[in-house]
């Protein structure tokens, strides 16, 4: 079947099998491998992307369902060479070690800050509670998101 959706602001379409999951559409069909893929059971959250601005687990969503929606992946966070403040925060506060959970964490952080510009640490922890950092770097992830909230307009040149 034919699916088409906006990915990082660009209309992307392809002929796919109905059973294709969004994570594989993004990684294997579009070549956007920034979206990671781990547990495959909707538990770890490394596959999180934004659909119409809200985080969803792309291993548990058909590409067919996502058709017609707006998808944002980690590749879409930096604009015109300027990092999103969330990306900059992860850089400043050492929010990643191996980086496997990072794309999903950053996108969830982006969605949180879009709704709530100044979240408490508890709100940050709740927002990322469906996502696992295998390196257990939660304290620095929370600090990175806090940094982004405090420097909302300070992206940096990539």
């Amino acid at each position: 079947m034919q699916v088409a959706m906006s990915v990082n602001g660009e209309e992307r379409g392809a002929e796919v099998e109905p059973r294709l999951l969004l994570v594989h559409y993004l990684r294997d069909v579009l070549g956007l491998t920034g979206t990671h893929w781990g547990c495959d059971t909707s538990n770890c959250g490394t596959c999180v992307v934004l659909m119409d601005g809200e985080p969803v687990k792309s291993c548990t969503l058909l590409a067919a369902t996502a058709a017609g929606h707006e998808i944002t992946t980690v590749e879409g966070m930096e604009r015109d060479g300027v990092l999103d403040p969330v990306q900059q925060g992860f850089h400043e506060e050492h929010g990643l070690q191996c980086g496997f959970c990072t794309p999903g964490m950053m996108l969830t952080a982006r969605a949180l800050l879009d709704r709530n510009a100044n979240p408490t640490d508890h709100e940050i922890r709740t927002a990322i509670s469906g996502q696992i950092c295998r390196c257990t770097g939660y304290a620095t992830i929370v600090r990175s998101i806090r940094w982004a909230a405090e420097h909302a307009n300070e992206g940096a040149r990539a």
Partner: protein, 291 residues
């Protein structure tokens, strides 16, 4: 890599269209709501439907929480997140808010729907117990009209509901009463996990006595409600002793099994304790409502 077996995909654009597709495609078709129970089952090949009818586009038509005719009406495609954020539910039927805080995690809650949860009828699923304790009724629609079922008629046990081929759930109706309070208590191994045990309670107070009560448990056996415990409460003034008595009846009547989440004995103990706590909180809320 877990991949569902092949199927044909249809997208419903309205409730009527979904019912028409169900009628045309027959018993080999399944509805896909949030997909957070069905897709994992399809990936494990525990389900291999020939046709999927995606009702995601009905999130507008069937996504609402509103007060009407003395009830809260909840559309079947209302997502967990919308239930959690509903000010109406928090104020009037707080058992929903209590439960939604601990159902799955925020990202799963962005997709999973109340209709999908009730129709999946997983034995550890929370909203069936919530709806049973809240005396909710479920609207099941077919091409020839609708049936409105209470939870005892709707929920037939693990993975089984009264929804027949060619039918779908469109709405959940929760009655509102003055002097009513409700609460939900759940023990989970870690954030986002399914319940080890959970208990919901609802009470209605009038002149210092419990006029009506309902208790429902999750993850401890098929029959979610505990009519015997509810009966013990009715017509008596609320007290710690009474709550303990009802909690004991509810726990004695459930049938937990030993698994990786705990022994049957442990779960029975937790069921009693959670029922007690839920009754305390439900009553405190009812007293606030009453005054």
């Amino acid at each position: 890599m877990q991949v569902p077996s092949p199927f044909e995909y249809e997208r419903a654009t309205s409730v009527e269209h979904a019912l028409e597709l169900l009628a045309r495609l027959g018993p080999d078709a399944r509805l896909l709501a949030g997909g957070h129970s069905l897709l994992p089952m399809m990936k494990l090949r525990l389900a291999s439907p020939e046709y999927l009818i995606d009702i995601d586009p009905l999130a507008g038509e069937l996504g609402y929480v509103r007060e009407q005719d003395g009830e809260v009406r909840i559309g079947a495609m209302t997502r967990h997140r919308e239930l959690l954020e509903s000010e109406l539910l928090a104020r009037r039927v707080a058992i929903f808010t209590d439960a939604e805080r601990v159902i799955a995690d925020p990202v799963v809650r962005n997709r999973g729907t109340i209709g999908g949860a009730l129709c999946q009828a997983d034995p550890a699923e929370d909203l069936s117990a919530v709806c049973a304790a809240a005396d909710a009724r479920v609207v099941v629609r077919g091409r020839d009209g609708e049936r409105v079922l209470d939870m005892r008629a709707f929920h037939r046990g693990a993975y089984e509901t009264a929804v027949e081929d060619g039918e779908m759930v469109t709405e959940i109706r929760v009655p509102l009463h003055p002097g009513a309070g409700s609460a939900y208590e759940k023990v989970e191994r870690r954030v986002g996990d399914w319940a080890v045990v959970a208990a919901g309670a609802a009470v209605r107070l009038s002149d210092g006595t419990i006029e009506h009560a309902a208790i429902a448990l999750a993850a401890v056996g098929g029959d979610v409600t505990s009519p015997a415990a509810a009966e013990a409460l009715a017509g008596r003034p609320p007290s710690e002793e009474l709550f303990a008595e009802a909690a004991g009846i509810a726990a004695a009547g459930c049938s937990p099994v030993t698994d990786q989440r705990g022994s049957a004995e442990y779960k029975r103990h937790v069921a009693a304790e959670l029922t007690l706590r839920a009754l305390r909180r439900a009553t405190a809320r009812a007293l606030r409502e009453e005054s």
